[in-house]
Amino acid sequence: MNLRLTKYYYGDIPEEKTGGGTAASSSNTEAGWPLWEVFIRSKQGLDHKHVGSLQAADAQMAIENARDVYTRRSEGISIWVVESKHIHASNPDDAGAFYEPANDKVYRHPTFYDLPDELKHM
């Protein structure tokens, strides 16, 4: 059971590439509360940003734990939590296929266009 659990969160390593001892499960380890990822909006107008993770028995507790753990110094005004197992991450091996095609579409960036200096507010 634990073996399965440890394999399904965002820090997961493809099985064929894992080394010894990484996903070691031990039968007497208490299952523990699920892991949650925490996202915090530090002030109005900004995106929620990933700040870390924590354990909680349910979503309610996860939000409260996030408040207690990650906003002790007034770091936030809004909290999102999501159970880590629900996060699907892209595979770094796909990085080429995912991101490189965008590299040659420089025309998507405003700096691509060389316009006369007299032109204002564009």
Partner: protein
């Protein structure tokens, strides 16, 4: 601005000490969990509550000290009064027991504190009203956090329910004291500084009942339990002396030193 005459001033100071002592003594108890909680996240959570409470205590003591004048400070009030001059409710000085006891006590007290502080908002004493306003935000969170834990533990496993039932029996007899006014509370009510505390009971009971019901815990029958009192007038349990001896040790051992 409210300006008390001499007798009233003494009574107001008592009242402030009562409010401060409640917060400090529970903070002292809760802080023993720091480093020993059942899971890291909750270790942090209960310490946040301890920090809120110690902050509240300091606000009340600082105000009391300013009324006393002379050499009185928040620290002389906290560290140089003996057990007979402490006015906190007995419930708050009881040993922590297990996490269930700690949670249930927090719940009983936080609900009471919330009722009380709400009624302090219109206080004629603007300093008290301001402290209450600031503290209410903290207390609202304490109520929420402790309510949820009471529900979780009550409606959790067989063991957790049994533990909560035990805690309920042990602590219930100490909840009546909240609503039995001491002389300084009656005076505060007369002066429009604080509420009539007996009138806070129905609201408290209502909220406690709701949470206990959701926690599948049997609420004690009202009026059936003999209520322990005395803390508000400085008649404490035997636990209090040890609590103060520990807390005040350095100030007592090195009189006059600055830390």
């Amino acid at each position: 601005m409210y300006e008390p005459d001499n007798d009233d001033a003494a009574s107001l100071i008592h009242y402030l000490l009562y409010l401060g002592d409640n917060a400090l003594v529970l903070s002292q108890r809760n802080s023993a969990w720091c480093g020993h909680g059942p899971v890291l996240e909750q270790d942090i959570a209960i310490t946040n509550i301890s920090l809120d409470l110690i902050g509240q205590a300091r606000s009340f003591y600082q105000y009391a000290a300013s009324l006393e004048g002379k050499e009185v400070t928040e620290d002389t009030l906290a560290y140089l009064r003996g057990e007979r001059a402490y006015y906190n409710c007995l419930l708050l000085e009881l040993p922590n027991g297990d996490w269930g006891h700690t949670i249930l006590r927090q719940f009983f007290f936080s609900v009471f504190q919330q009722q009380l502080y709400k009624q302090l908002l219109p206080s004629k004493d603007s300093t008290i009203a301001a402290i209450a306003e600031k503290s209410l935000k903290e207390v609202a969170y304490h109520v929420r956090w402790s309510s949820e834990w009471v529900i979780r533990l009550g409606d959790g496993t067989e063991e957790s329910q049994a533990r909560m039932e035990k805690a309920l029996v042990a602590l219930w007899a100490y909840t009546g004291e909240f609503f039995q006014p001491a002389e300084y509370e009656l005076a505060a009510a007369r002066e429009g500084i604080g509420p009539v505390v007996a009138a806070l009971q129905p609201g408290w009971w209502q909220q406690v009942q709701e949470v206990l019901a959701e926690a599948t815990l049997q609420a004690p029958e009202q009026g059936k339990t003999w209520m322990q009192t005395g803390g508000k007038t400085g008649r404490h349990t035997e636990h209090m002396g040890y609590l103060l001896a520990e807390m005040q040790y350095l100030q007592r051992a090195y009189p006059g030193a600055t830390w």
